[in-house]
């Protein structure tokens, strides 16, 4: 019964989404206020309906309703409750429902927070959101319906993929989707602006919070996924340049560029056409990502190949939405007249360079991801494009970005003084070089990667700090400290986010350059040395979990005779899914992670054991979280709240900066 209610709500949501698309856009064209006013209520009703459907599906998973095909394929009565929830989006149909739910939630949020939007713009934004929603609801109902019943329900289900039964991965998709789908707001604002034929500072200010929110979610989602790969896959890698990862990186790079170019639109009324184009491309890359993951065309050998016919539908939607928006862009971009005048050396130019590097980086990822497919189809030449390629072809652009970041962020708007800015950065450069030198002298292996990463990371972090300090003016130290606390949150957000990037750059190179690794056969009771630690395999036991069996090792790590930590790496086997998983045991630390993995028993007795010391691993996730937190600080800046609050009071005095 509840399932049927959910199913019905979903069908109704499609009807409402169609209304939300057609009436407001018609009204906006004709200037009919009543038709435009339909958009808001329709968006909220659509959200309520999709939420009802999602609730019904969640209910079916939690109560293990095995008359539902989806539940049978992805759940099991013995599965822990949290993974019964996570099972809802651990599959194609359910994750699509979550996607549509997020989309509807963003539209509803636009209604609630967007009360100061001009009526016509708001109607158009919501209409575009409605169109995207209608397309995906129809796609779901006609090709991937999550509410299909089985005539004869089995006694129990097939269980969720064991790799997904993990806290990191359970919450990784929801964040990622909020990010992907959040970019639809930027897209809708861009299309609405093109329909209006007008992009101004106010538009820049309206679109920025949405992009920022999407970017924050995307950042968190990607780092959760990376963290999961780090601890779950068993050798502590954190980024593999796989098509599925690239699918999330491309929108992130575009969204990052968009965040920065929207600032130029907001403050200087320039880069308008480019910003619109970026907003379209960012969502386009989200859709391409959806296509890559769900169609299975890119990596034909992998085990998750989705039905290609569904992929074709997504490709069709991609062409309709992005192609349509680009055609609109081609027709209207000429009308978007730039106003700001600025010199070659200015903050504007620095942001142009930032955008250039970020979009070229996104382009490299894009070409690297799809080229194997193109090469096979067009040239009949099967090639791989993997990690070594991306390390060589992508990294230089990011290094260049990190090098110009501290300089660009202190240049003045309109007309900067490069010599003066660089003078102010000498101390930062010296500190950065000192860190690089320190890393060089302390490292045992003489690769350049570590020292360069340390210098670059320090350059970005201390550059961000010096940027913030420079904002406090020229008064005495105490006056500047006082002013520091009164700086706008956007300034703090920028410092925090940029420092986070510095930490990520440093950690990524440190982890790669200075890892200590050992692969050994160890018998219970034996010890081996790992760096300055001593590791003893105390015992190996068989343990039973709720829906798996486990081979669990007990390992004692000590240093200079004193116990540091006792770790329990496991090898699990999930009988229902018939899959083994590795559960590495990790002792997290500020300076290093100890990372132990137990492998197979060996013929001559003993167990294969892999052990690692991963230096600065937590700085990577910490840095990513800092970036997200910086975004959050920026999002909470008074300017956006003033703009939102003013409308409620009736007046709309948007401060001119």
């Amino acid at each position: 019964m509840i399932v049927e209610l959910g199913h019905f709500a979903l069908v109704l949501a499609l009807a409402v989404a169609l209304v939300q698309t057609v009436l407001p856009i018609w009204g906006a064209q004709k200037g009919d206020l009543r038709l435009m006013a339909v958009a808001g209520p329709a968006a909220i009703v659509q959200f309520v309906l999709v939420a009802t459907a999602f609730g019904a599906l969640t209910m079916a998973f939690v109560t293990s309703d095995f008359s539902l095909r989806l539940v049978v394929n992805n759940s099991h009565t013995l599965k822990p409750l949290i993974y019964k929830f996570a099972g809802v989006w651990g599959n194609h149909e359910g994750s699509l429902l979550l996607w549509v739910l997020d989309l509807a939630a963003f539209s509803a949020a636009a209604v609630w927070f967007g009360q100061n939007l001009p009526l016509r713009l708001k109607a158009r934004v919501l209409a575009v959101q409605g169109a995207i929603g209608a397309a995906f609801l129809a796609f779901m109902l006609f090709t991937s319906n999550p509410f299909l019943r089985l005539a004869s329900p089995p006694m129990n289900g097939g269980d969720l993929n064991p790799l997904l039964q993990d806290p990191g991965l359970a919450f990784h998709p929801p964040f990622l989707y909020l990010g992907y789908v959040g970019l639809s707001m930027s897209f809708s604002f861009a299309v609405a602006a093109l329909l209006e034929g007008r992009v101004d500072a106010a538009w820049g200010r309206w679109v920025r919070p949405w992009t920022l929110a999407a970017w924050i979610f995307l950042t968190i989602g990607i780092s959760l996924g990376s963290w999961w790969a780090y601890y779950e896959l068993g050798w502590g890698g954190f980024w593999f340049w796989d098509p599925v990862e690239n699918a999330s990186l491309m929108p992130w790079l575009c969204a990052t560029a968009l965040l920065h170019s929207a600032i130029v639109v907001e403050k200087r009324e320039s880069l308008k056409a480019w910003t619109i184009l970026l907003a379209i491309m960012a969502f386009g890359f989200s859709l391409i990502g959806t296509f890559i993951v769900r169609s299975g065309v890119i990596t034909s050998v992998h085990a998750f190949a989705e039905d290609p016919s569904r992929g074709v539908v997504i490709l069709f939607l991609l062409v309709v939405f992005v192609g349509g928006a680009l055609m609109l862009f081609a027709a209207r971009a000429g009308a978007l007249e730039a106003k700001g005048v600025f010199q070659m050396i200015s903050r504007e130019s620095a942001l142009v360079a930032n955008n250039l590097l970020l979009s070229v980086a996104a382009f490299v990822v894009f070409v690297g991801t799809i080229w194997p497919l193109v090469s096979e189809l067009a040239f009949n030449r099967v090639i791989s494009v993997g990690e070594p390629f991306f390390n060589a072809a992508f990294t230089p652009f990011f290094v260049a970005l990190a090098v110009i970041l501290p300089v660009g962020s202190i240049l003045a708007w309109k007309r900067g003084d490069l010599a003066r800015s660089v003078r102010g950065l000498w101390p930062v450069a010296i500190v950065a070089l000192a860190f690089g030198g320190l890393a060089w002298s302390m490292a045992t292996n003489r690769t350049l990667l570590g020292p360069i990463g340390a210098a670059l990371g320090a350059w970005v972090i201390f550059g961000a700090l010096s940027d913030l300090w420079g904002r406090t003016g020229k008064a005495g130290a105490s006056g500047r400290l006082g002013r520091l606390t009164r700086l706008p949150r956007a300034d703090w957000g920028r410092m925090v986010a940029h420092s986070g990037l510095g930490a990520v750059i440093f950690a990524a190179s440190a982890m790669t350059a200075w890892v200590t690794e050992d692969i050994l056969v160890v018998k219970p009771g034996e010890s081996f040395a790992l760096g300055s630690y001593e590791v003893q395999l105390v015992a190996v036991r068989d343990v039973k979990g709720p829906n798996y069996t486990s081979t669990m090792a007990e390992m004692l790590v000590s240093r200079d005779g004193a116990e540091v930590v006792r770790l329990f790496p496991e090898k699990r086997f999930y009988p229902v899914a018939g899959m083994p998983t590795t559960e590495a045991a990790i002792d997290y630390g500020v300076w290093r992670d100890l990372y132990l993995v137990i492998g197979d028993p060996q013929d001559g007795g003993g167990w294969a054991v892999r052990s690692y010391i991963k230096p600065f691993a937590n700085w990577l996730w910490g840095g990513a979280l800092l970036m997200a937190f910086g975004g959050l600080l920026s999002l909470s800046d008074r300017r956006y709240r003033v703009a939102a609050g003013a409308a409620r009071r009736g007046a709309a005095p948007v401060a001119a900066e």
Partner: protein, 163 residues
């Protein structure tokens, strides 16, 4: 992939956009203790080369990280070549000869594969030229009147209304 055969067909699509679902090689990764060469210098070379070779039956893994039986065969083959005195290039060429260029995770720099290598730099040059031209135009552009005539009238009206 550890056990591609074991995986139930109903669990095909478990990649809910999950990052890194690629590597779903869930068991003990890669290099086994019995494969490791006695000479650390040779072993280090083997590890380095392994990182650039694809495990052909896996989704996107190098043979150093993969668990698949084929990856193990390739690792042992590679070590045999190195022990036999092959240079790095010769060992890689030997494997490419037998398994095709698909085995190379970093595409070769010839023919159509050159496109991937040139895409970034070409885009940078192209985008840089466009950006430079735009910046020149902006620097030379006349400072526009802050408001259009229409907006000036509107502003004047508003100011008159305001006490």
């Amino acid at each position: 992939m550890k056990n591609p055969v074991n995986r139930r067909p109903t669990l095909r699509f478990l990649a809910p956009l999950a990052l890194a679902l690629t590597l779903l090689a869930p068991s003990l990764p890669a290099v086994q203790p019995d494969e490791i060469l006695a000479d650390p210098a040779l072993e280090a070379r083997a590890r380095e080369i392994s990182k650039g070779l694809r495990c052909l039956v896996c989704r996107n893994e190098n043979i150093d990280d993969s668990d698949a039986a084929l990856a193990r065969d390739l690792r042992i083959l590679l070590r045999d070549r190195i022990t036999a005195g092959d240079t790095d290039e010769a060992a890689v060429a030997f494997i490419v000869d037998r398994y095709g260029e698909y085995v190379l995770l970093s595409p070769q720099t010839n023919g159509s594969a050159l496109v991937v290598w040139l895409a970034g730099p070409a885009m940078l040059v192209l985008g840089g030229a466009i950006a430079l031209q735009m910046l020149r135009r902006r620097a030379r552009a006349p400072v526009p009147s802050a408001l259009s005539a229409e907006e000036e009238t509107e502003l004047a009206n508003m100011l008159r209304r305001d006490p």
